[in-house]
């Protein structure tokens, strides 16, 4: 299908149009509300732009430092210059990865994932959402080699089952409605047809839980690499990212070379912008901070160039500032009509129309013409990328040319329009000819508005104005120029009001934390050092919990019931401590290391966290200054219960991670 045909197909698809309108409206509103709580939004945006500009300008130095740190941390680093190299690296790792001992589920009858044909060198790959993996077409290559790949983000899983590619970089199944998913799960997974989103989500949870527990390799993307610490930061809402990076014995992280931030302080800045822009959240549910491999785990990082260096050395370098939040897609009126698939490239929307010709295929230069240059994308961009300016550069043939003469000026413009613009230029370069043309057109005895035919493009939906019989330049000569009047009496001065800076109310940290956590669907329980154990017992009794998964802190407080330390997917409740809690986002920060893993906060359906009041911090930036963020093996910032909005943007709680989070806030102040 040509681009034109794909455009028409999108416009004719009623379901798609409803879904896209819904997406545009809700995302705009979500973003507006999320930034309303950030009075210094524009300053942060300008700062973020400057940080990204510095990274891209000095990319080689930053990359060297980053790679050094990541290697020091014990992660194996690979560099891939193009998609093919990256794919070969993953295949080689798959080949050498020893298979896990077949777990309980392998070969047993009641499994959704048929693994019987996997053996020998064939592996099961659990994949967390990664646009880089889409860019290099990794799934296809792995499957061609006989491996099994399962996408574990709910939206990605749905599009994979349909044999499609994501329609949006953040919301892969944005083009589908619940009926489509119900039918799909009925056909592919054999469950009774249902339109109930929680049931559909829960089905995916069951299927994918098996995958996490049996996968040989976990593959993920990376949202940010932190240069000073070598930390890999990943944000997800469902918990699948955490599963893929912690449960399989091998983890492969895929990352574009440009996705760096210099410091953890910078990371705090970007984390304040990314989720707000992407999904309207103050923070995504799970912000993973990975430093070293877990005990017994091998971690690889593949750094992909694939045209990025060429982009960096082209007039499109600014496109590398992108943090892939998808806000420009949601704001774009063209995306709102088309959805992702019609673009043809895996990167759709305004940013996709800029980078696809550089990263995916030079032929995609024509996508840049699918924009009215309205600038809504730039306005939505959290790092203030001049997307309309970059689209104009792609139109002018300034994308990096990977093969000579693949791009030229005005790519995608029909030759008849080019001819017209050329003729117009010839006329307009001469005032005499221009004026003559105007007069000649004005001579035709036409109605004020002319019904021109559809093939002209303009005539498809609008009439065309008749050129004035007497254009302005003719009238000018006769304009009765009134004597310049003294304007004193008829006009008033403008009062320029100074904009008042919003004042931040001085809110108590505990109140703020409670309010934020509660708004996310989390629960807060106020306890003291004296009654904490009794309150816990009470909680377990009410719930009929007889065994809990614990970490060091959890173990200290548990009395009266059994507890386990090793990951166990059958235990329904986890009890953990925390490094600290963040009031502004309602988050708790957990770190692993010293034999302690983070599974107690991930596998069970209920997560209970013990936080002391003295551990409560005001901001994310403060939390990231904690030494343990860098010294621990890995950390996670948990912000509310696991959730997804991948089906019809309906918020559904408890996808892969816990569906409940209870914070027991322990008053450790004196006298308590």
């Amino acid at each position: 299908m040509t681009f034109r045909q794909r455009i028409r197909a999108s416009l004719d698809n009623e379901n798609l149009q409803i879904a896209l309108d819904n997406n545009a409206r809700r995302r705009a509103e979500g973003r507006r509300l999320a930034f309303a709580s950030m009075p210094d939004h524009q300053e942060r945006r300008a700062h973020a732009h400057a940080v990204r500009a510095d990274v891209v300008a000095h990319l080689d130095e930053y990359l060297d430092k980053f790679v050094g740190k990541v290697q020091e941390n014990g992660i194996i680093v690979h560099r891939a210059k193009d998609a093919d190299e990256a794919v070969q690296l993953v295949l080689a790792i798959a080949k050498e990865s020893t298979q896990r001992a077949p777990s309980l589920q392998r070969g047993t009858k009641e499994t959704f994932v048929n693994l019987s044909d996997l053996g020998g060198e064939k592996v099961l790959v659990a994949k967390s959402k990664s646009m880089v993996s889409e860019e290099i077409n990794l799934n296809h290559a792995l499957e061609a080699a006989g491996h099994r790949v399962v996408e574990t983000d709910l939206g990605e899983y749905i599009v994979q089952l349909r044999g499609e590619r994501p329609a949006h970089i953040i919301t892969p199944a944005v083009h589908l409605r619940r009926q489509d998913v119900g039918q799909l799960f009925h056909d592919k997974l054999g469950i009774p047809y249902t339109e109930d989103i929680p049931t559909l989500t829960n089905t995916a949870r069951k299927v994918l839980r098996e995958v996490f527990l049996t996968a040989d390799i976990g593959v993920s993307g990376v949202n940010f690499g932190v240069v000073e610490s070598g930390t890999l930061c990943l944000v997800t809402n469902e918990g699948n990212g955490r599963m893929c990076t912690t449960l399989p014995p091998v983890h492969i992280a895929l990352m574009g070379i440009e996705r760096l931030v210099p410091t953890l302080d910078d990371l705090a800045l970007f984390l304040s912008l990314l989720p707000r822009s992407a999904t309207g959240q103050k923070l995504s549910v799970y912000t993973s901070l990975i430093n070293t491999p877990l005990p017994g785990q091998t971690r690889h990082l593949i750094l992909l160039d694939n045209g990025r260096s060429a982009l960096r050395n082209s007039p499109l370098a600014e496109s590398l500032y992108c943090i892939r939040c998808g806000a420009c897609l949601n704001a774009c009126p063209v995306f709102r009509e088309l959805g992702g698939h019609a673009y043809g490239s895996i990167y759709p929307g305004p940013i996709g129309s800029v980078i696809s010709s550089g990263l995916v295929d030079p032929k995609f230069a024509y996508l840049s013409q699918a924009s009215s240059l309205c600038g809504a994308c730039r306005e939505a961009c959290p790092v203030d990328i001049d997307l309309p300016g970059l689209l104009l550069r792609v139109r002018a043939g300034l994308s990096p040319q990977r093969t000579p003469s693949t791009t030229k000026e005005g790519e995608g413009i029909p030759s008849v329009v080019k001819l017209g613009l050329g003729l117009f230029r010839r006329a307009a370069a001469s005032p005499w000819l221009f004026s003559l043309g105007q007069r000649a057109l004005g001579l035709f005895p036409l109605p004020d508005w002319i019904r021109i035919p559809a093939f002209t493009g303009w005539g498809y939906s609008k009439d065309f104005p008749r050129p004035a019989a007497r254009p302005f330049r003719v009238r000018w000569k006769n304009i009765n120029r009134e004597e310049a009047k003294d304007a004193k009496d008829s006009v008033a001065r403008v009062d320029i009001k100074t904009i008042e800076k919003p004042t931040t109310p001085n809110i108590n940290l505990i109140d703020l934390f409670s309010a934020e956590l509660t708004a996310l669907g989390g629960k807060i329980v106020h306890v003291t050092t004296r009654d904490v154990r009794a309150r816990l017992e009470e909680f377990f009794k009410e719930r009929g919990v007889d065994c809990v998964l614990v970490d060091d802190v959890g173990a200290k407080y548990i009395t009266g019931i059994a507890s386990v330390r090793e990951p166990d997917a059958t235990v329904s409740c986890g009890v953990t401590g925390a490094l600290c809690a963040i009031a502004e986002t309602g988050s708790v920060v957990l770190v692993s290391g010293g034999g302690q893993t983070l599974t107690a906060s991930l596998l069970p359906e209920v997560h209970l966290v013990l936080v002391k009041k003295s551990q409560l911090l005001a901001t994310l930036a403060e939390a990231l200054t904690k030494r343990e963020i860098q010294t621990s093996s890995s950390g996670v910032i948990v912000t509310g219960p696991s959730r997804t909005a991948d089906i019809e943007m309906a918020l559904t709680i408890g996808v892969h991670g816990p569906g409940e989070i209870h914070v027991f806030l322990l008053d450790d102040s004196e006298g308590a």
């Binding site: 455009i7 416009l11 009126p333 063209v334 088309l338 013409q369 699918a370 924009s371 009215s372 240059l373 309205c374 600038g375 809504a376 300016g389 104009l392 139109r395 002018a396 043939g397 000026e409 790519e411 995608g412 413009i413 329009v417 613009l421 230029r425 307009a428 370069a429 005032p431 221009f434 057109l441 508005w449 559809a454 002209t456 493009g457 303009w458 498809y460 939906s461 609008k462 009439d463 065309f464 104005p465 008749r466 050129p467 004035a468 007497r470 254009p471 302005f472 330049r473 000018w476 120029r481 009134e482 004597e483 310049a484 009047k485 003294d486 304007a487 008829s490 006009v491 001065r493 403008v494």
Partner: protein, 263 residues
């Protein structure tokens, strides 16, 4: 902004090819408004088009001669701009006034991009950009006026054009001017910041997409219950009015200059 109250100033009018050819009444209205404020208007008659259509299409080689022509024409300053009788000093340079957000954005931003690799032309483009103003911006930010004594009975709603709002940051100025129009009832347009689907060559090259934007804009105009849509960009005017005509709708699109000139 250092405007010497009551002293005459001379400006150059860059009327744009669309106003010149299709909507000359907008140009006349501008001249009336400016004259009423004591501003002398000069119209360099050699002006044609700023080159935006070709530039936006990516055809920079076609855009460049028109940009050079425009710079050359506007560099010929009217005599009266340099000093005024009686020795009163006006603005140091002669302002160029443009009744269209996108054309003003072309001169202010587009030219700098077009000539970025040519230092000589870039300097000339920068000098022109520095003295170029969109019409409402000039009235409010330079002249410091808000009430022009205009009168327009009835309901009206305002469409903030994309380039005007997002590229030039001009949003407050037209609203302020409209707020002072007597007998006018200003209502808000739903989803007002959405593009109307013009976008220059876009409206011809992607007619299906352009039509969808336009449909939504017209539907929102109908919801506003306003018979009049005010714009400050002639591209949007031509586009929305063309759509209204095609759909047989009675609403009228007018340029803000015409509203401000009416009494």
């Amino acid at each position: 902004m250092g405007y010497n109250w009551g002293m005459s100033e001379t400006v150059q009018l860059f009327v744009t090819c669309l106003v010149d050819t299709f909507f000359p009444e907008t140009g006349e209205a501008m001249v009336r408004v400016l004259n009423r404020l004591g501003v002398n208007v000069e119209f360099p008659t050699d002006q044609t088009c700023c080159g935006q259509p070709a530039f936006n299409a990516g055809l920079r080689a076609e855009a460049r001669p028109l940009a050079e022509h425009t710079i050359r024409v506007l560099e010929r300053l009217p005599k009266s701009s340099r000093s005024t009788p009686g020795g009163g000093k006006t603005s140091e340079v002669c302002p160029v006034i443009i009744p269209s957000g996108s054309c003003a954005a072309m001169v202010r931003h587009g030219y700098l991009e077009l000539f970025k690799d040519d230092p000589q032309w870039l300097a000339r483009a920068q000098a022109l950009a520095a003295r170029t103003f969109e019409f409402t911006e000039y009235l409010v930010d330079v002249l410091g006026v808000s009430d022009l004594g205009a009168r327009w009975p009835g309901r009206m709603t305002y469409h903030p054009s994309c380039h005007l709002t997002r590229s030039l940051g001009i949003e407050r100025q037209p609203r302020l001017l409209l707020a002072h129009v007597k007998d006018a009832e200003i209502v808000e347009l739903l989803e007002r910041e959405d593009c109307c689907g013009f976008g220059g060559v876009f409206s011809v090259e992607h007619p299906e997409l352009s039509a969808e934007f336009l449909k939504r804009k017209i539907a929102n105009l109908e919801k506003s219950g306003s018979p009049t849509l005010v714009v400050a960009d002639t591209g949007c005017r031509m586009h929305i009015q063309g759509g209204l005509r095609r759909q047989g709708k009675a609403q009228r699109v007018v340029h803000i200059a015409e509203v401000l000139a009416s009494q």
